[in-house]
């Protein structure tokens, strides 16, 4: 009997959507701190956009995982969504995806606990986002059934290239205008 492909299509589409949204959130996070748009956008709007993109990405992940369980093309037991290594389908790369998603939720949730864990610790925790981006890319490429297609590869290449370019720009940027804040930062005795 022919299977209903709805959930399979949904799983693939939402997986890629989550990847794109989370990449945008990472890019936004890397770029906006240096205020490339001047003061045109308030910092509140900048932070809200970063968080909203991440929340939308995590929302897409919920659709991605739910539809994988509901779909019959690959067998995905519910527990495999929470425990890395239980997926019968592409065992290792799905494990990377599960671990990455779980840590992503930790990073997202840590925002509300910033004061409790300390601003500095929160910022340190945020560094793992780079590893999570790598994990998400590896998971998408290795688990995704569309990875061989040109359009899908183009998405991954664009994402990696843009994050690499933004990171390089950000690393070089403090040497120019970002330096202005440093003496004040020390003076305030805060972070």
């Amino acid at each position: 009997m022919h299977q209903d492909p709805t959930f399979w299509i949904l799983a693939r589409a939402s997986g890629l959507t989550a990847y794109v949204l989370l990449t945008l959130s990472v890019l936004w996070g890397i770029v906006v701190k240096s205020r490339p748009f001047g003061n045109r956008f308030g910092q509140a709007a900048v932070v809200d956009t970063h968080r909203t993109l991440a929340a939308l990405g995590l929302g897409a992940l919920v659709i991605h995982t739910t539809s994988l369980v509901l779909d019959k093309t690959v067998r995905m037991p519910v527990q495999a969504l929470f425990i890395p290594g239980l997926s019968p389908y592409r065992h290792y790369s799905v494990a990377i995806g599960v671990l990455t998603a779980e840590l992503m939720i930790v990073v997202y949730a840590s925002f509300s606990m910033r004061k409790r864990i300390g601003f500095k610790n929160w910022r340190r925790l945020h560094w793992i986002t780079y590893a999570l981006f790598a994990g998400g890319t590896a998971h998408g490429l290795l688990s995704g059934s569309d990875s061989g297609r040109t359009w899908a590869l183009a998405i991954y290449i664009c994402a990696v290239a843009s994050v690499a370019a933004a990171t390089t720009w950000r690393a070089l940027e403090p040497l120019t205008k970002g330096e202005a804040n440093v003496p004040n930062r020390n003076r305030s005795g805060s972070v």
Binding site: G42, Q43, N184, S188, S190
Partner: protein
Amino acid sequence: MFRIEIDRDLCSGFASCVQDAPEIFELDTSGKATLRVTETDDERALGAAASCPMNAIAVFDLDTGDLVA
């Protein structure tokens, strides 16, 4: 006694803190809040932390180390 911290990356210069407790907070030349004192017994620090729209001010009890605002 309280210990105060500001997350300057998040501070947007709304200056609510400066209005609430000008003895503790001021805006620097980059328009962000900075601390005049890092420790104080002035309870207005608590109000300032509560009024910060970015939630960028943390106040700790110096004796217990507990987060109080």
